[in-house]
Symmetry: C2
Subunit: 328 residues, 2 copies
């Protein structure tokens, strides 16, 4: 049975929603969950639930807050829930780690504790965008702010392998995020990266403009982490703004309220696509271990989905698959 | 009376919608319009309209297409509508130019023909985002893909002067687009730019994350043109996607169709904010002349708005105002 260590103290709704999501997941998927965090608090929360046979608790006395400087927090707070969870993977007691906490701390703790996959200079954070048609994997979403072309190439190789083995897309199409389609378009980084990608073995389809991200033209889209992070958070904010504006407009008078009531199912469908931050989790690709970052605002359902995706990655031996980057 | 030269042949809906927008504008604002393009075609289109006393035609035999390489097209097609329009400004026959055509060609023709404002190394394209609360000016939106910190500083100075004099915002708040609020966050460019901005005379409020763009925290937001272009086009595509998804959901059955009918005014209000590409035009700041880029998809209403904004910039002597960058 797959064993997943979850940082129960990380995220805006931790630990209650993390525990709830973990319990729900064990009732659906064949996984064992190790909840890492304050034992007393976690026992109290768990006592509210039934069907907790597949859940155990591992005590951690410290918490790394969302706004702490990652590297120093990971070094100073040896007994933080993130560090303890990483240690569970390192010692072989768990197959994977999930955290909805401080992204930088998760990356630093994983790097220090588990190291990198051979052939990968810099691990990357990959996020799935559920577009209208299908899922698209974007990376790097913020781990590497200044990249070299060879980093972009490795992101492409890792993304391609992940899309193939975990998302089950055969011969995934990989695109380079750029401001124009022609090979000559872009900045120094993208122009050089284009040439590297072109001569690699991956299924490189060329430049993809930002307006094409949601069109599903590529299965995997690569960019440096500075841009990825800007795009990710901008997209989230637009989705939230639209929902906020709709709510305001629809509550203006009795007629709009009535119409809004009739349209509830329609709005739910819309929300699924534009509020994509609620879904699943983002793998830290290139870490020598299966690490997933759940969204800071993840509630039980998002945690449950994160567990499903993480279990899938363990089953498909993603870390082993990524070792093919070296030969790429 | 303010005289504006319009590239009547540029844009997806040129020349018909350009002519229509120009005629509409002259009936509302005190401006003279010089329509630049194929004389025969423009005469034919104009003959369909009334109240055309304030409109004249200047013949140009060539057109630069949207997908042509800007610099070479501007050099080879001397008699293109963009080049001829720029010449009208250079010779003093017009006070400003507007084009909905090839952005790079407009920038190149303006640079070759009119030169730069003293103190500005690289002109930038600035776009107004109509957020929920107020307008926000973002630059550079694509003219400069690899920037130095001093370019970012100049963008900030130009944006601040434009916001003050044309958008009439007193002491405009200027933010630096970044992936975190702290001064230490970001890539090499933003970290160095932060320090330059901090020690400048502008009202610098620090880093602004992409999720804050639409929140109206800053009046002016600066970034390099590669990122600006990605953000701009991504935002547009999300807006369009939401509209498309809503349409699909709302036409599913008679109930949703009925509800959608009741909500038409609400959707129109929503559309105003999320389809911001339809509104106004983007100034090319730092060119020694008033140049505005209208959106490639601009129809009559967008052209009319572009004329209003351009006339305002002429009236406020924006080029003269920008000469203050030198002392900044």
């Amino acid at each position: 049975m797959i064993r997943i260590a979850i940082d129960a103290m990380g995220g805006d709704y931790a630990p209650a929603e993390i525990v709830k999501g973990a319990v729900e997941a064990t009732t659906i998927f064949p996984v064992n969950i190790l909840l890492v965090g304050d034992e007393k608090e976690l026992l109290r929360l768990l006592s509210k639930h039934k069907n907790i046979e597949s859940i155990s608790i591992v005590h951690a006395s410290q918490i790394i807050r969302m706004d702490e400087a990652p590297a120093s927090a990971v070094k100073l707070k040896k007994d933080s829930s993130i560090n303890v969870a990483v240690k569970l993977v390192k010692s072989g007691r768990a197959d994977a780690i999930i955290s909805a906490g401080n992204t930088g701390a998760l990356m630093a703790a994983s790097l220090f504790g588990l190291g990198r996959v051979r052939g990968v200079d810099r691990p990357a954070i990959a996020t799935v965008f559920p577009t209208t048609g299908k899922d698209v994997l974007l990376l790097d979403m913020g781990a590497n702010v200044d990249c070299k072309p060879k980093n972009i190439l490795q992101f492409a190789q890792m993304g391609s392998l992940y899309a193939e083995h975990v998302m089950h897309i055969s011969n995934p199409k990989v695109g380079l995020l750029n401001i124009g389609e022609e090979p000559s378009k872009g900045n120094e980084l993208t122009i050089e990266s284009y040439n590297l990608l072109k001569s690699s073995r991956i299924n490189f389809i060329g430049n993809v403009e930002s307006k094409e991200i949601m069109a599903g033209k590529a299965d995997v889209i690569v960019c440096d982490g500075f841009i990825g992070n800007l795009i990710l958070k901008f997209g989230e904010s637009i989705g939230q703004m639209v929902v906020r504006l709709l709510k305001r407009e629809l509550s203006k008078n009795p007629i709009t309220k009535f119409a809004a009531f009739l349209l509830l199912p329609a709005f739910k469908n819309l929300r699924k696509v534009i509020e994509y931050d609620e879904y699943g989790a983002a793998p830290l690709l290139g870490i020598n271990g299966v690490c997933y970052k759940a969204h800071g605002r993840a509630k039980a359902r998002a945690i449950k989905n994160a567990i499903r995706v993480t279990a899938e990655a363990v089953k498909e031996r993603i870390v082993h698959c990524l070792s093919m980057v070296e030969e790429g």
